[in-house]
Amino acid sequence: MDVMPKWAEVVLVPLISLLLAAIISALVILAIGEDPVAATKLMVEGAVGSVRGWGYTLYYATNFIFTGLAVAVAFHARLFNIGGEGQAMLGGLGVALALLFIPWPHWTIGLIAAALGAAVFGAAWAFIPAYLQARRGSHIVITTIMFNFIASALLIYLLNEFLKPVGQADPSSARFADHLDLPTLNSVLTGMGIKASKDDSVNVTFLIALASAVAVWVLMWRTRLGYEIRAFGHSESAAKYAGINPVRITVITMLISGGLAGLMGVNTVMGESEKLLLNSTEGAGFIGIAVALMGRSHPVGVVIAAILFGFLYQGGAELALWTSIPRELIVVIQALVILFTGALDNMVRMPLERMFLAARLRRAPGPERKPAEPAK
């Protein structure tokens, strides 16, 4: 029986966890001798106070929607995909390979090719850990961590040995063709006659991210496969008795998860840098964990949490620019969110559950309790 009403489960618990994370973050800012209120103001101004700010906030949010959805889908099957970072790196590689070697006539076709490349490469990188977990019982958390490092080594190797143009010093690929630039919010606004900044930031990939969120919702709650994934996550043995094949579900779930993480590469590699860089993921794979936890693994929650983290990221960059607070403050906030909404979930939940239970007993006293009978 659920102890708490649904609204408390969905809204109250995450809000309290978030509040705790915010209070501690404020204390951290105080401790390093800065003013949390002024810092917050600066962040709000920098992240959502201008078209440019919004552009970057949504650009980062796009990354986090993809990685957040990736972690969330895996969570539903009770799989912890910690390898979003590596899968996103490979996704970026897929984008670069798709765009460097085939002369696509127009960005729309290029975008489809890039998205396919990203998803396929990301999914492929998730396949081996998934297969090993399903068939050989290797712990997926450890294998996906290892695959993050292998991806990074592979990327360094490929960039230095093959993709780097001759005579170039820094390890990055050649630039993609100019006509493959994705339309950005700024270019759309300029087209409508509104003056905006020239920065490339949020681009058409944001819409793909939103569409992916919808697709994940449909998959999870409106299809047979989604039902099987959730059933498997609730109880593996029950799922087995119901004729659900655990190997199949594990592999398919991880393929979807890896594909989603890989899609992030479209945003960073095709949309922003327009070439493959060494560190284009910038830890977004790990932020996906915070986003999925905060969003309670629901696509709507993931999108909201991703935009919040996009805000934190862009706001944090502004803070680092104008104050002596380093960008790493965001990493601290991210850690606190993971800690309170993930690991210390029970700390918030237990007292709340007790409270609701007490309130319910007071409202509707059950069958009267008899005093314990004296022992004979």
């Binding site: 390093i32 001798g33 290797s138 490092f149 190797y157 380093p326 601290v332 850690a335 993930g342 210390l344």
Partner: protein
């Protein structure tokens, strides 16, 4: 490859292996007690910073070490509260601890020293310098044994010797004491330990704290012996390599020594591509060598080369039956 190069290579193998070994033994205690710990990395990083920071403020590496261990213990305490007391997800807690350490170290470093997230360079007593073992100079000229003793065995910082002594000590504690027996039991079957009237919670906290101390020494080694000062993200994935070594070692102390020495050798070879080329006549790119420990761990995990069976109750919070 001549003898001098070999000694040099083995010498840097020892240097690379030391932090891995300490962190690996740290993980061994924790995981043998049934607490997964992917936060080794974060604890090492925090310890590396606080050791360097305290050492640079007090001028003493030993006081610095205390500071580093204290910082690591704080994070270990958070992990304990989250995963033992509140029965949270141990893996998620580990991820949080890694991020917390990555962020806080730079934040505090910037606040205290204002040098772009690093500590001032350490020198003199603020570092653990290499110590010359007795007779090293006298023996140095003896062929074969001389360089082996003077250059490979002697001349490391005290933390290296602590790390190597920690191996037999860990073996003895885990396999020859009552505490060790109970600790291993709590990782296999906590209910049985509970029935015997021993506190599961107490044992697990003890294991997590030992893990914290060892990670603290590992981190201290990074910033005061291997390098002279803290720089951002200086643990550079070593906590995860240690985790890989732990699986490679199948959660056993002596195997942990060999596994970390092997991974240390890879690290040493990565810095000497000329040696590899001379020995096998093939140019192996550095990044691929750097990725090798991870690939090997996956192969081991896949069960192709012997099966790695983790402690049975690992990762599961213990709930007493009512």
């Amino acid at each position: 490859m001549d003898y001098t190069t070999l000694i040099q290579l083995l010498d840097s193998t020892v240097r690379f292996a030391t932090p891995l070994l300490l962190a690996c033994l740290a993980g061994l205690f924790s995981e043998r007690a049934g607490i997964f710990d992917i936060g080794l990395e974060g604890k090492m990083l925090a310890a590396a910073f606080f050791t360097a920071a305290v050492a640079s403020l007090t001028g003493s590496a030993w006081i610095g070490l205390m500071g580093g261990i204290a910082a690591s213990l704080v994070l270990a305490g958070i992990h304990g509260v989250a995963s033992i007391t509140f029965r949270g997800n141990q893996l998620i807690s580990g991820v949080a601890i890694n991020a917390l350490a990555a962020g806080m170290t730079v934040l505090i470093a910037q606040d205290w020293f204002r040098q772009g997230g690093r500590t001032p360079p350490l020198a003199g007593n603020a570092r653990f310098e290499g110590i010359t073992l007795p007779g090293a100079e006298a023996l140095a000229d003896v062929p074969v044994i001389g360089p082996l003793y003077a250059d490979l065995i002697s001349g490391h910082s005290v933390l290296v010797y602590i790390a190597f002594l920690a191996v037999p000590l860990t073996w003895w504690v885990l396999f020859r004491t009552r505490f060790g027996l109970r600790l291993r039991a709590v990782g296999e079957n906590p209910a049985a330990v509970d029935t015997a009237g021993v506190s599961v919670v107490g044992l697990r906290y003890a294991a997590v704290m030992i893990c914290g101390v060892l990670c603290g020494i590992a981190g201290a080694y990074l910033s005061t012996a291997l390098q002279a000062g803290f720089v951002k993200d200086m643990s550079a994935g070593r906590g995860f390599i240690a985790l890989a070594a732990l699986i490679f070692a199948k959660w056993r102390p002596w195997y942990a020594l060999w596994a970390t020495l092997l991974f240390g050798l890879f690290g040493a070879l990565e810095t000497r591509p000329d040696v590899i080329q001379a020995v096998i006549g093939l140019k192996v790119p550095g990044p691929l060598l750097g990725g090798l420990p991870y690939v090997m761990t996956v192969v081991i995990l896949a069960g192709f080369v012997g099966k790695a069976i983790p402690p049975r109750a690992g990762g599961e919070p213990y709930v007493k039956e009512r």
